[in-house]
Each structure stands twice: as C-alpha cells, then as structure tokens.
Symmetry: C2
Subunit: 218 residues, 2 copies
C-alpha cells in the first residue's frame, strides 16, 4: 500500500467494502477519473489497521479519498464534498425538502444499518451470533427505508433521478443478501436495486469489477 | 404523545437522547423557536415503538422535527435542512474543504460511535456486557475524533466558529461520561466540551434543562 500523490484523485478502497462502493458509484456517476489504492480488510489482520493507513484515516476504516491536495474520510462526507465541488450530474435534488429526504435515507443506511453489521463489530459479536445479529439490524433498517421510500421514490429512491440515497442503497442490498436477509417484504428496495444493477456507473463500482477482487469470487 | 400541528416547529425529543440533543443545540444556536413533544424511550417499553410514533419516524428513534409542513428524521439530515433553510448563524463553514472536515467529524460520531452505544443496541448486547461494549466503541471513536481535531480545531471543533461538529460532540462526551470512558487521552475533546458547557444554546439544550427530565436527576 503506497501513499497517494498530490494531483491525482485516489480512492483507498476495498472491493467488498460497502462504504468504498458508495463513493465509487458517486465518482462514476459524476464521471470523475480516479485511481484505486486497494487496502485489504483481510490481509495481515487488516491493512486498515496499519500505522500507515491510520495516518490516512484515524477511524481505520475505508474509504479515504485523496483529492484537491487533501485527504477526506467518511463516505457521506466525501460524497457531499464531490457534490459541492463537482457540479456535473447532481446527486442531491435542488429542492430543500427533497434534499432532506435524500439525506434521511442516506443516514438510515449510513448510521442506522451499516455500522451495526460491519466487520469490526461482527468480530466483537462473535462467530456464533454474527449472522443473526447482522440480519436483525439490516431487517430493522430496511423496514424503515422501505417506509420512507413509500413516499419519496419514483424510478429511484427520491423521484426519477439517481441521488446519494441510491449510492447508499445498492451496496446495502448486496450486504443484506450476503447475510441472507429475506428481502421479499421490501418490494420498492428490490425494484430500485434491480433497475440500477445494469447502470454503467453501478456496474463499474460493483465489487466483482474491482482490481482487488479475488479471481475466484468473480 | 399528541401529533404535532402544521405551522409550529415541533421537536419530538427525549431529554437524554443524544441525537435529540444535537438538534436542540442547532435550533438554539440559530434562535429558531420550537416546542418540544417529549417521547419517552423508557415509559411503557418505549413510546418510540408505538404505532403512532412509528408513523412519524419509521426507524422508531428520536428525534423527529415537524417543520415547514413536513416531518424530518435523522439528526444530521435535520441539522443540514436547518442550515439550508435558516441562513442565520451558519453551522457549516463556507469553504468546501472545511465543510468536508466538519461533516467528517459529524459522521465519525453520528455513524461511527453513537449507533453502537445506543439503547436498542445495548439491549441486544445484554446487561452484563453492555458497559464494556459502549466503552470500547466510544474510546475507539474518540481516538479518531481527537486525531481529526488535531488538524481542524481552533477554539471549537473546526476553527473558531461553532459548527455542526460541536453540536454532535458535546452530547457524545456526555454519553462517554455515563459509560465511564477515560477521557484523559482526549485533551482537545475535553477542552472544547468545557468551553461549550456554559454557552447559552448548549445550556438550554442540556438534558437537565428539558421539560421531560425527571425531577430527581436535575
């Protein structure tokens, strides 16, 4: 893992990290060229816990984005920075209430679901209980997301344009499937996920299309 | 618990909920008048789990804000709505990188710490293990916050103006004390918390000054 150089946009990413994936989608949607520096959450006890990476992201989590001469962490903060500095292909509506509704869905996923089922927490929960634990919190969160989408969704999470909410939703659906969550009670989530699975920006951001995806899982 | 009426700004709040507290601080800093509808996290197994409140916030969490004819949930999304619609007393810097740094600190707290130590998760962790669990995740998060503050802080979390990061930090320090986290390794966090503890907007938002604070804990 070499440290990024100024000038180039570099995303510290792990193929299966849903938080890295959110940012990959946003970068792709805005057609911002970037390089990927893979940081393995598995190798050598996790490269994200190395002294070198801790200097980049003190939370020892992915992603981090090197851009405009600085290093940014926390996926939702990074995506809002992209939104405020790269105005092409807006990922937040212009209407203030709709913006709030998009951020609301983002936060339910980013703070209400993902942190409870991420790797470091599951290690603490223990091998025996971890699947039931992850399933419980994802199901609780998706129940809320489905309800919110009932009033906000059009073709996508908030109306007919792709927003930050969609960037957060798709990776979370992938995680839900990994933990065998029953998704049948969430028809709107399933429909949006299906509609986006062939979108080029989402395809390019998918774990299976990352340079660090192990060949045997592709 | 009666449902809020259009026109008035109403915050569904619980005195000790750190997420409600963040929004109370932001409302106070911007001098936005609001009424409080207390929702007890304790009474009758938790009023936030009632059918009535689930219609207001499908995540069954506090806070919710009734404002401008709609109901918003998720504290960080609410605070950003206030920031975008009530321009007085800005709580985000105008510089885009500084805005990202503020949101970064917010997210570390809002998604990296609080969700792991909130009531519903601690119930699942179990009585015996819950204190050690909360202490672990708060300490991990504060280590990252302290490091981020090392480069962003002035008098407050991001420079010399109070921002959304301060609205998130102060309630989290209170929670850290509840769980007996050793705060000595976090001198910047402690200094900022101390500086803000007498600020009128923070005093008025404090749990002990809420209408639903039990008299014997004041």
């Amino acid at each position: 893992m070499a440290v990024a150089h100024q000038g180039k946009i570099v995303l510290y990413s792990y193929w299966r990290s849903s938080c890295s994936w959110r940012v990959r989608i946003a970068l792709n949607l805005k057609e911002i060229p970037y390089d990927i520096k893979p940081v393995s959450l598995i190798k050598a006890g996790g490269e994200h816990h190395s002294n070198e990476y801790r200097e980049i992201n003190p939370m020892e989590q992915l992603p981090a984005l090197h851009i405009d001469g600085c290093t940014l962490v926390e996926s939702l903060s990074i995506m809002q920075y992209l939104e405020e500095t790269r105005l092409q292909r807006p990922l937040l509506p212009s209407d203030v209430v709709k913006r709030a509704k998009v951020r609301e869905i983002c936060e339910v996923i980013v703070s209400g679901i993902q942190p409870l089922q991420n790797l470091s927490v599951l290690i603490h929960v223990g091998e025996e209980k971890k699947d039931a634990w992850a399933k419980h919190w994802i199901t609780r969160g998706f129940r809320a997301v489905e309800k919110l989408l009932g009033s906000s969704a059009g073709k996508y999470c908030a109306g007919d344009e792709i927003t930050l909410a969609d960037c957060c939703l798709v990776p979370q659906v992938f995680n839900a499937r990994r933990f065998h969550v029953d998704l049948r009670p969430f028809p709107i989530i399933l429909r949006i996920d299906r509609d986006l699975e062939r979108h080029p920006a989402f395809v390019a951001a998918h774990p299976s299309n990352q340079p660090d995806c192990p060949p045997d899982t592709k």
